[in-house]
Amino acid sequence: MSIASPLLAVEGLTKSYGGIHAVRGVSFSLRAGEILALIGPNGAGKSTCFDMLNGQNKPDTGQVRLLGDDITARKPREVWRLGVGRTFQITATFATMTVRENVQVALISHEKQLFNLFGSAPNFDRGEAGRLLELVGMSGYADRPCGELAYGDLKRLELAVALANQPKLLLMDEPTAGMAPRERVDLMRLTAQIAREKSIGVLFTEHDMDVVFEHADRIIVLNRGTLIAEGTPAEVRGNPQVQAVYLGEGLVYDARHREGASA
């Protein structure tokens, strides 16, 4: 790992839809093993920003660098091959397949066996799949179809899938949305632990401020597409600009949003 270049460096990211500037000149960076939270009220441009990091969405201008390499124009699948795992705000899993099979697909892709027509997939890397499920506490569910899982379990499964290619960077879009408070703490504690052990950088967006302030090493705050603050939890908490956009309206709106997401 190069010392000179950070794990992730974002410079001047800009995206507009029609006349609306969703994201304007956002720059930040992320070190290996660091947990960075991206927060902001609804409509601040978090998701747009997020999608531009792994090629899900293309910025109008700006650059995304992974360990110094420009990955701005890459497709999501190419970004994944470079070591970027991602979970989605609304989980995306293979609903008709079992929990273990979900992980196995990721392992098959990681080991470039996608076009292996006659191997046995049920036995493919069973051990590694089991370890990953163990890691996120899903061992007991390995043979359950993933369409039957509770939402919180899907989120944990997504984490296991995202870890399958031994990523350098994890992008987690609202990892704890729709989870019970107890589960939230557990999942983020787990994520933090994995990140420190394996020196994985984690970028996550989150609405739950308890989660953010407890687990993030650093926080960046978006409002109306621009970065308005950056710093440690303590610094951000004390920032008057952040308090201005967050208190009152923003919080009320947040609570409502969460209800919708878990429905």
Partner: protein, 629 residues
């Protein structure tokens, strides 16, 4: 020069009916999200009823009144169909909707023959537009000029209807967001019914207006529906302007294509469609759609490989099947061979549509290409049978590689329409390129060599190949590739996020399925001793769909059972009645509406119920697979 102008005008005149039918299809799709396969059938009924009415009612008023009356009558039939059939399947997967409306088409085909007879009917000329206009020595029928003027008028009326009336506003709103419109207290039921009526009215009007130009016959439904599918794929489903532009484009391409490739004019249309799909996969005026629809192949019970007991049971079944020649006569053995061949065909489609979630409506193309491949090799190159059987399917493989590349760029209904259009293109080539394919007369005398000539030997050959193919495809379902393919079916977003090139996976599956179908076709050519364009026709494609559906689209082994039951029933039915399409169509609708899980699916459900005192219910059916922002 004058000749080209006339050719151009003829093209424009043909565009009129095409536009009417396509816009009707688009409007219905926009609101109800149903691609109405029966639209061609309504077009045809419109023409038949208009024919009858114009024969009865005299005078200019009688003629034009008949045209409008016919369209209204058909629209009323449409209302009935919507209330009785479609309301039951609005929430079913789109495959089921396409199949149910196709079943309706089949029934209508037999019904019109029953009512109006099998012969072509030549209608009266339109009063006031009987003659032709001289254009620098070339004749232009004045009725053509009337049609040319009519399309923009209809376009204008539709525009006014949608922009200026309350109903139109509701329709546009529902096209954008059905649920929101329902939440605002609009009576959805009647909105849907009225939209369907308007769409059907347009189709029937298109049919009725054809009678002064063309004879009315009972195959006009499929011809128009394929062209309409091409039009909406090019123009973009849901867009009326798109339907107009594409109808003109396709008609002109047809008009001038004849001059460039006289034998295979449809090639030109195909090339343009291919270009459009590469540049704008959702058509010139269409909008990309979020892939939030349910795909076929959803299952609550996870798939698993057979246990060793089940393997033994399957082997035992195969051994029992292999003893058939010991007691059965030649006719039964031939039937047995045909069933074995259709098992191959069905499992190949199953691989694509259940495992890959890609419901092809033109799978017969690759079956037929395999058959033609064998016929070419055996008749023209004179190669030995074993070589032909090995190489013939490669034609199916190549066809699948070319068409599959384009088809997998799309999904859902677009995929279904595109595969259907491709199959129809292959069919037209087989039909029109007489010097190579023999056209309608087919290629005869493709007989097996001595070692396979006796019915029992051929039966064993077919059974053996069918068993091999079934085992191989089943193994693939549980191979790393099979997992990846199922993954693309369940969530494109997720596959892309874990480094999988979904299109490549789907394309590979398409080629595998096409090649396998080609193997079936190769055997079929030898079984029948001949090859005809029908071997790659629409009805054969639908047979395959019904076999998979009947067996159980959500199961791994349903296709085998479905093929055996369906083919046996079909052969028996054809020997019993002349109205096999009527019965078959009704049968298809019945399966879709009351029996959507199929035979094996039902058995699995029963077994599941017995095993668990309290089944976990079926959360999957209520839950969208994928919903990403």
């Amino acid at each position: 020069m004058a000749f080209y102008v006339v050719q151009f005008l003829t093209g424009l005149a043909s565009a009129a009916s095409l536009f009417l039918v396509a816009s009707g299809l688009s409007i219905i799709f926009g609101v109800t999200r149903i691609v109405n396969f029966a639209h061609g059938a309504f077009y045809m009924i419109g023409a038949y009823i208009a024919f009858t009415l114009t024969e009865r009612l005299s005078g200019a008023f009688g003629f034009w009144g008949s045209i409008v009356l016919a369209a209204i009558a058909v629209a009323l039939i449409g209302v009935l169909v919507e209330m009785v059939l479609l309301r039951r399947i609005y929430h079913a997967p789109e495959l089921f909707q396409l199949l149910a409306t196709f079943g309706l088409t089949l029934m209508v085909e037999d019904l019109v023959v029953l009512i109006w007879g099998p012969d072509d009917l030549v209608g009266r000329r339109a009063p006031g537009f009987r003659g032709a206009i001289d254009f620098f020595g070339q004749n232009i029928p004045s009725y053509d000029l009337f049609l040319i003027g009519l399309s923009p008028v209809v376009l204008g009326i539709l525009w006014l209807l949608f922009q200026r009336t309350r109903w139109g506003v509701l329709v546009r709103a529902a096209t954008q967001d059905r649920d929101m419109v329902a939440a605002l207290g609009v009576n959805q039921k009647w909105l849907f019914t009225s939209v369907f009526a308007v769409g059907v009215f347009l189709a029937a009007l298109g049919g009725a207006l054809q009678i002064p130009r063309d004879a009315v016959h009972h195959a006009m439904d499929l011809r128009i529906i394929v062209e309409v599918f091409v039009v909406v794929v090019i123009g973009g489903l849901g867009s009326i302007v798109g339907a107009f532009v594409a109808a003109v484009l396709v008609s002109e391409l047809n008009a001038f294509g004849i001059l460039i490739f006289p034998k295979i004019s449809i090639i030109l249309v195909f090339l343009v469609m291919a270009v459009v799909l590469i540049v704008r996969p959702w058509g010139l005026f269409g909008k990309p759609e979020a892939p939030a629809r349910k795909t076929p192949g959803l299952t609550v019970n996870p798939w698993r490989p057979l246990t060793s007991n089940e393997r033994l049971a399957a082997l035992a079944a195969l051994v029992i099947a292999a003893t058939l020649p010991l007691f059965a006569g030649n006719y039964l053995l031939t039937v047995g061979s045909e069933i074995a061949i259709f098992v191959i065909f069905a499992v190949s489609l199953h691989f694509l549509m259940s495992v890959g979630g890609l419901a092809s409506f033109g799978h017969a193309a690759y079956f037929g290409l395999g058959a033609y491949g064998v016929a070419f090799l055996a008749k023209m190159a004179g190669l030995p049978m074993i070589v032909c059987l090995l190489l013939g399917p490669l034609l199916g493989c190549m066809g699948a590689a070319v068409f599959g590349f384009f088809a997998v760029q799309l999904s859902g209904v677009y995929f279904a329409m595109l595969t259907l259009a491709f199959a129809q293109i292959v069919w037209s080539i087989a039909f029109q390129w007489v010097s190579v394919t023999g056209g309608d007369n087919g290629i005869l005398g493709v007989w097996p060599e001595k070692w396979a000539a006796s019915p029992s030997n051929f039966y064993w050959l077919a059974l053996g190949v069918a068993a091999l193919v079934t085992v191989a495809l089943r193994a693939m379902v549980f191979s790393p590739f099979g997992y990846a393919l199922r993954a693309t079916r369940d969530s494109l977003l997720r596959t892309e996020a874990i480094g999988i090139n979904a299109k490549r996976i789907q394309w590979t599956a398409f080629v595998i399925a096409g090649t396998t179908a080609g193997i079936g076709g190769a055997l079929f050519a030898y079984l029948k001793g001949s090859v005809f364009p029908d071997n790659l026709g629409i009805s054969l494609s639908v047979d395959a769909l019904v076999m998979v559906l009947l067996g159980g689209v959500e199961t791994v082994s349903g296709a085998v059972i479905g093929a055996i039951v369906y083919k046996a029933l079909n052969i028996w039915l054809v020997s019993q009645t002349d109205l096999s399409k009527l019965v078959l169509g009704g049968f298809i609708m019945l399966i879709v509406v009351v029996f959507p899980k199929g035979i094996v699916g039902m058995l699995e459900m029963l077994a599941q119920r017995r095993k668990k005192a309290s089944p976990p219910g079926s959360p999957l059916l209520a839950k969208p697979i994928e919903s990403a922002e």
